[in-house]
């Protein structure tokens, strides 16, 4: 059934939507070159302490002076657009593997919405399966209450819709899929959504921010 959802059967997922754009299709536009445009700050977020896939405390961002993060909130029982966000980060990870100089400045972060089910062990399973080539952290939290300030800080909406509480049909989460581009000063510089998640645009945004940082060393 996830396959049917994934290939565009006429089903109306209320929380996860896309416009029919796919980042795997042949591109229909040239991406604007890095540095040819601006990415004004949208918001500033805080550092938060979560739980890593090894079960130890881990910072959400943990950015050094010249580093950038791409942060995505997902949950492992999501069968629709969350996999798209993770697939996008996966492709970015593979692209960065071919550009070590760029990769040294980028960290990918996947945070679970669902700490009750997405335990550190499950996040470790996901991490192992994706076999990241670069820096990619998989985080969860102690409970939903611990995650709430993070979601509020990022402006990431998330509403749990109770289900029958069985393993086969757990609660569902209504949220808009977003991937946040965060600079070294913890400013959100872009937000990507299911309207279109084109890794050329994401990587050019990363290059744009790094060029900006080089021009304005702090």
């Amino acid at each position: 059934m996830a396959l049917l959802v994934g290939i565009g059967m006429p089903f109306a997922p209320a929380a996860h939507e896309s416009t029919g754009a796919t980042s795997d299709a042949a591109p229909r536009f040239e991406a604007p070159p890095p540095g040819s445009y601006e990415l004004p700050p949208i918001d500033r977020v805080h550092e938060h302490q979560l739980t890593g896939s090894d079960g130890a405390p881990a910072p959400l961002l943990g950015l050094a002076r010249d580093e950038i993060a791409l942060v995505s909130f997902v949950y492992l029982s999501c069968g629709e657009a969350c996999p798209l966000a993770t697939a996008t980060l996966h492709r970015i990870d593979r692209e960065l593997a071919g550009d070590p100089e760029l990769a040294a400045h980028v960290t990918l972060v996947t945070v679970s919405f669902d700490p009750a089910r997405d335990t550190p062990a499950r996040m470790r399973e996901l991490e192992t399966s994706l076999a990241p080539k670069g820096r990619w952290r998989f985080l969860t939290s102690a409970n939903r209450a611990a995650l709430e300030p993070v979601l509020e800080d990022f402006g990431q909406d998330a509403v749990w819709i109770p289900g029958p509480e069985t393993a086969e049909a757990p609660d569902r989460l209504r949220h808009v899929l977003k991937v946040f581009l965060v600079d070294a000063q913890r400013r959100v510089r872009n937000i990507y959504s299911t309207g279109l998640m084109d890794i050329r645009l994401v990587l050019n945004d990363v290059r744009t921010l790094l060029a900006e940082a080089e021009g304005n060393p702090s």
Binding site: E17, R28, F29, P40, C78, L126, A169, L196
Partner: protein, 432 residues
Amino acid sequence: MATRFLTSILIGLLAATAFADETCQSPYMPKLSGQEDYVYVWTLGIDGVGDGSDKLVTVGANPARPDYGKVVATASVGGQHEAHHGGFTDDRRHLWVGGLDTSKIFIFDVAADPAKPKLVKTIEDFPEASGGVVGPHGYYALPGRMLIPSLSNAKDFGGKTALVEYSNDGNYIRTVWMPDDAPYGYDARVNATLNRLLTSSFTGHKNYMRKLPELMGDAEAMKNFGNTVVVWDYHARKPLQTLEIPGAPLEIRWALDPTHEYAFIEAALTGKLWGVFRKDDGTFEALEVADIGPPEAQPLLAVDISISANDKYLFVDTFMDGKVRVYDIENPRAPKQIYERKIGSQVNMVSQSWDGERIYFTSSLLANWDGTGGDDEQFLRAFTWNGKELSPTFDIDFRKEKLGRPHLMRFGQLGFWAAGNPAASSEVAQRP
């Protein structure tokens, strides 16, 4: 669980077909599926009518509910601001609505209780924060932000204007002024698949706040209407092309099928329907594709258009004769009018449900432009559409109900953010 997630990743690059409410919504928003429960109507106040204030009116829209066709709630904002347009944030939790005269923006929480929107924030310093932009017109959801195409400027109140962005929290982000060869603004719509933004052009504060008969009699002032549509690189916010579309090209509607690379725009003063088509080299061309009403009757002021989700029908309203005309647009380069109906003595906005079965109309254009075609009747009228004709379902007289001049409509749904939402239930049922 992780295995299924990984399996989904493999097919996660394919996109699900989107099902949406009003077909003009931003591609970045979650959409309503099924029946809307409410129509939110942003309404101008009229002196001597009720409290005289601009207000957000909530009307019951679900025939299965006892509040169908009735005013459920009103939320006055105090004062008359030239209430005009509005739009949801990308998470659909807030509805932003604004005033073209005072440039104030009112942000309503529509998630906590969809039956009773609550004003939670007012942006009072839009002209100052934006560097001199006046007349916030459209409210178009981007991820985490709102894009506000505007109409005028604080320097001369003419038509030179800008696109302004705010965060969902209501904090100013940036101003992008329209290019020198196309300085006027009105609507802004993104085609995410093509990374293209289209903007259209109207007129400035000193024209749109002026009484219409007086304005139309002033030949010099009538020269100050837009005649351009700009094609932008959306991601870079850079103008790429300026297309000439004379006669105030206003509402832009991209075709919704992602393989259909065109949009429709109506020119208010000439009564012409235009298509903007992507060419093989990736640039765009604008072509006149149909008449909107008889040429000898112009200007009828073609004011709003609505495209059906299957890209088959286009509804076009003309203000001066109060009519809607429906076009078969399956051949977008040769639309054919297949139906027309008089909705009232004047008509402006038209909104349709995603399934195309329910169509809503409101009457008001601008406080100083209303009533010039005859009776200044003010209404929300609802119809069903069966592909051939409109059949009326309910009608609310906004003067009789002491509300004002109804304008922008947006749909709400009970339980969208809560358990028991039928769409959410179907989501669970469909999962493996």
